[in-house]
């Protein structure tokens, strides 16, 4: 469905469209995302649309939520934004992000002409935001910086609802011959003071032909009925009845099944593969070669997924050597060399730490973090069909536009000839932005004679072909003055995610400018150093790195907050008091409030038995301020997590229940990594294979988690990522408090035992 309609300079235009099962009207659209967001500039420039309201003549109201739902509740929140202004209740709407939204997403991204126009900050920001599982534009404004006040879904979705409501009221006013101002709306009806009522559905056809001179005013938050309150998730019933909503559940007539066996040595090609053995497996139909920018290998096509897996095993390919050191120890040498060299770039910082440290007693520390895989619960998969020069992809994607672009390029067709049907995602965490999954599916679909093919990766393939959270090594130096931090020299060696992403996605382009993700979570924190320097020592290899929940903040959140804890003890200060003393800037107020709130919840400072300890940490990321306290009991010789408290401030909370769930989820995700996850290399390939050697916490390992929600921050921040960055440091600091053993290397489980099952 969905013709592209035009925006007129005079205002919004509704367009009647034919939807399945009858007439749907009121298809409203908005200016494109990146230029000036202010409504009074709407007449300027080039317009496109984003969210939709579709109102059927039967009063069925569909809100198009063009963002990937991967568990972060985004469909509910986007729908609530529209419903609030449209004056309908959540039980009257359905939210949809199917074909129309995906198709739209493509055209919006591609309409602007030259593909290169997208590779600016806006485009990278878009990928990043998609990758981070945040609510459209409004929950992750600081991913690439500089765009924090830009237009966002918070305004756009509400404007969509308000505009639809205004035209409906206008049509009702004309029918009744009264002024629009005299009418009210509630539950998808326009109400005349004389008691008459008209449903939106009865007005929709006429409303669709109406234009509004200007966008209507939005409600003041004090008038909100829906926003600010927890809403039932729109897709809840599907998810508790096992509905086939994920990419892996796609079922099409004449569909074939496939899997991939890609080179686990990144960048290397196959030397040999036993195709005859693969073909001998019952159910295997074909083995095809795959050669793409993201990797080389084979597609194994079969009559069911299991046969494809068995075929891949039988194929037993041998691969060329890797271009990088073959094991983790060898890689660490590169990282150490990078730290010995001049820095690649610095960000933030002030004063002259080098001079300040002259002759002073310098505290030094080194920190070490491994590569990490995402392990979304639903393994990577995509379904593709290539017929008559047109590709259809069924894909749980955080970036459907990108998928269309790269697959079109691979097949030599126009991007407009790719349709991406976005399914629900069984977890994203940044993994489902990547081009590899759709690319391999498209490559296989090109060799099935037009039959659709569902390509499911095994868990082993998923873990061994991820785009990993970068490995990082940090070297820190600091001095104290009167027991308080005075100067910091902060150096971290890590690969650039942008460079890696561009290299595998747009090989003809190079990522410009410093990749701030290497330092995110350090230089940008609410902490006043009289002297500081934050230096990135970039070290790139062919091992793909990508967006892992909270990106650089998960690295630097650990390093920065652990080191602050070290400095507090070195200076004889309480870690909380020291932080508060260094957060006196007026702009740091939300950090102080979050820390104080979490300290109060946790009873910070109380006398604890010997062997029991609390650790505290705070990270500002994606515009949300999060302080966390962990309490551990080590009296039994292992680390037992007793409780976690968090205070999180995203400025404005649209759905408290969902926000709390996201913060909790981020904490557990980070906790799993801090305790036990590590991707290591041997023989040029990833060692870990499956959940037996790359596990995550289960029920028994997760202590009670209490989250307080604050709204002191002046700007709206994210929900999905910010819970993750402080948790490793809070845990490490708690272990130190309980045992005196400082934790500088992740995962902690390599050195100490945890009582988690």
């Amino acid at each position: 469905m969905g013709k592209i309609a035009k925006y007129t300079r005079r205002g919004f235009l509704g367009l009647g469209i034919a939807a399945a099962g009858g007439l749907a009207v009121g298809y409203y659209y908005y200016k494109k995302p990146y230029p000036n967001p202010l409504p009074d500039t709407l007449a300027e420039g080039d317009f496109s649309f984003t969210p939709y309201v579709i109102i059927g003549s039967d009063n069925a109201i569909t809100i198009i939520t063009p963002r990937a739902e991967m568990g972060q509740g985004i469909h509910t929140t986007l729908a609530a934004l529209v419903a609030e202004e449209l004056d309908v209740d959540m039980d009257q709407i359905s939210a949809e992000h199917g074909p129309a939204a995906a198709a739209y997403y493509n055209s919006a991204m591609l309409r602007e002409g030259a593909p290169f126009a997208f590779f600016d900050e806006g485009f990278v920001a878009e990928i990043a935001r998609g990758a981070l599982g945040v609510a459209g534009k409004f929950l992750a404004l600081q991913v690439t910086g500089g765009s924090s006040a830009s237009i966002d879904a918070f305004d756009k979705m509400r404007e969509a609802g308000a505009t639809a409501r205004a035209v409906l009221v206008e049509v009702a006013a004309q029918r009744w011959g009264v002024s629009a101002e005299s009418l009210t709306t509630a539950r998808a009806e326009v109400v005349n003071p004389n008691g008459e009522r008209l449903t939106y559905g009865a007005l929709a056809a006429d409303a669709a032909t109406l234009t509004l001179p200007k966008p209507p005013a939005l409600k003041d938050p004090s008038e909100w009925r829906i926003l600010g309150k927890s809403q039932p998730r729109v897709e809840m019933r599907e998810k508790i009845t096992g509905a086939p909503i994920y990419g892996i559940d796609v079922q099409l007539p004449n569909m074939l099944y496939a899997t991939v066996a890609m080179s686990p040595r990144f960048g290397a090609k196959a030397k040999h593969a036993d195709e005859a053995a693969a073909m001998a497996v019952a159910g295997v139909l074909n083995v095809v070669e795959i050669a793409t920018n993201t990797g080389h290998g084979f597609g194994i096509i079969a009559s069911n997924t299991w046969a494809a897996f068995e075929g891949a095993r039988a194929l037993a390919p041998e691969w060329e050597a890797a271009s990088y050191p073959e094991d983790t120890a060898g890689l660490k040498v590169l990282w150490a060399e990078a730290l010995d060299r001049e820095s690649s770039f610095t960000l933030g910082g002030e004063g002259d730490p080098e001079a300040a440290m002259q002759g002073a007693e310098v505290i030094e520390a080194r920190y070490s973090l491994p590569y990490l895989a995402h392990t979304t619960m639903e393994p990577m998969n995509a379904t593709a069909q290539f017929v008559d020069g047109k590709l259809t992809l069924w894909l749980g994607s955080q970036a459907p536009g990108l998928a269309a672009m790269v697959t079109a390029d691979l097949l030599g067709i126009e991007t407009d000839d790719v349709e991406v049907i976005t399914t629900s995602l069984g977890g994203g965490f940044g993994r489902r932005v990547e081009a590899d999954v759709p690319l391999y599916a498209a490559a296989i679909a090109a060799q099935t004679g037009g039959k659709p093919v569902k390509v499911t990766w095994s868990r082993e393939e998923d873990i061994q072909h991820d785009t990993y959270r970068p490995m990082a090594e940090a070297r820190l130096k600091a001095i104290l003055k009167n027991g308080l931090p005075e100067a910091l020299d902060y150096r971290v060696a890590a690969p650039s995610i942008n460079k890696s992403l561009f290299g595998r996605t747009f090989p003809n382009l190079s990522a410009a400018g410093p990749d701030r993700s290497i330092l995110d979570g350090s230089f940008d924190q609410p902490f006043s150093w009289p002297h500081s320097r934050f230096a990135a020592h970039q070290v790139d290899t062919d091992i793909p790195v990508g967006f892992w929940r909270s990106v650089g903040n998960s690295i630097n959140g650990f390093v920065h907050e652990s080191f602050l804890d070290e400095l507090a003890f070195a200076g004889g200060k309480d870690p909380l008091e020291m932080r508060l003393a260094m957060m006196q800037d007026e702009r740091h107020a939300p950090a102080r409030e979050a820390l104080k709130a979490v300290a109060e919840m946790a009873g910070w400072g109380q006398a604890l038995p010997e062997g029991v300890g609390q650790g505290i940490a705070h990270t500002l990321s994606f515009g949300t301020w999060v302080a966390e306290v962990v309490q551990v009991d080590m009296r039994g010789g292992t680390v037992k997590l007793e409780k976690i408290w968090a205070a999180a401030d995203p400025g404005m909370i649209l759905d408290p229940g969902n926000f709390e769930a996201q913060i909790t989820s981020g904490i557990i995700y980070g906790l799993s990594a801090a305790i036990g996850q590590e991707i290591s290399f041997a023989d040029g390939r990833v060692v870990q294979e499956n959940f037996y050697d790359y596990d995550a916490l289960r029920m028994a390992g997760v202590p009670p988690i209490e989250v307080a929600l604050l709204e002191n921050s002046p700007r709206m921040g994210g929900a999905g990522e910010p819970g993750t960055p402080p948790i490793a440091a809070a845990l490490g600091n708690a272990i130190f408090a309980a045992s005196g053993k400082r934790q500088r290397s992740l995962p902690f489980g390599n050195e100490i035992d945890f009582d988690i099952d």
Binding site: E238, G426, M699, A700
Partner: protein, 149 residues
Amino acid sequence: MKLQVNGQTHQVEAPDDMPLLWVLRDLLDIKGPKFGCGVGACGACTVLVDGIPTRTCITAAADVVGEITTIEGLPSGERLHKVQEAWMRHEVPQCGYCQSGQILAAVALLEEIPQPTDEDIDAVMTNLCRCGTYPRLRAAIHEAAGMEG
């Protein structure tokens, strides 16, 4: 082979060693059991065989004797199972991918121990959830334990 799934008998042609998971998903188009690991390590593929939670990715379909219940077979008509009701009330799922398996594991737990303690829950609920819905899972199980039917 013959399989009894959600009250229906299916006659299936499949190799003897084909896991029940793939027979259900790819041959019978029953998509509730999910693929997560293929090695019995995550529980996403859990179904009940005569009421006992079974990881279908490591269970050969040919070896299954008994009545198979998948999540699709849990509600009777429009009525949800009380565990599903509790899941709704606590808004347990995030991405939702693990939840078919979690719900069936919880159903089996409550059959066995109608009023489970936290320790019981820790011992039995070993399915992985990468979204970290464990606190709500726990709360929903306690609530379901207190519900009728």
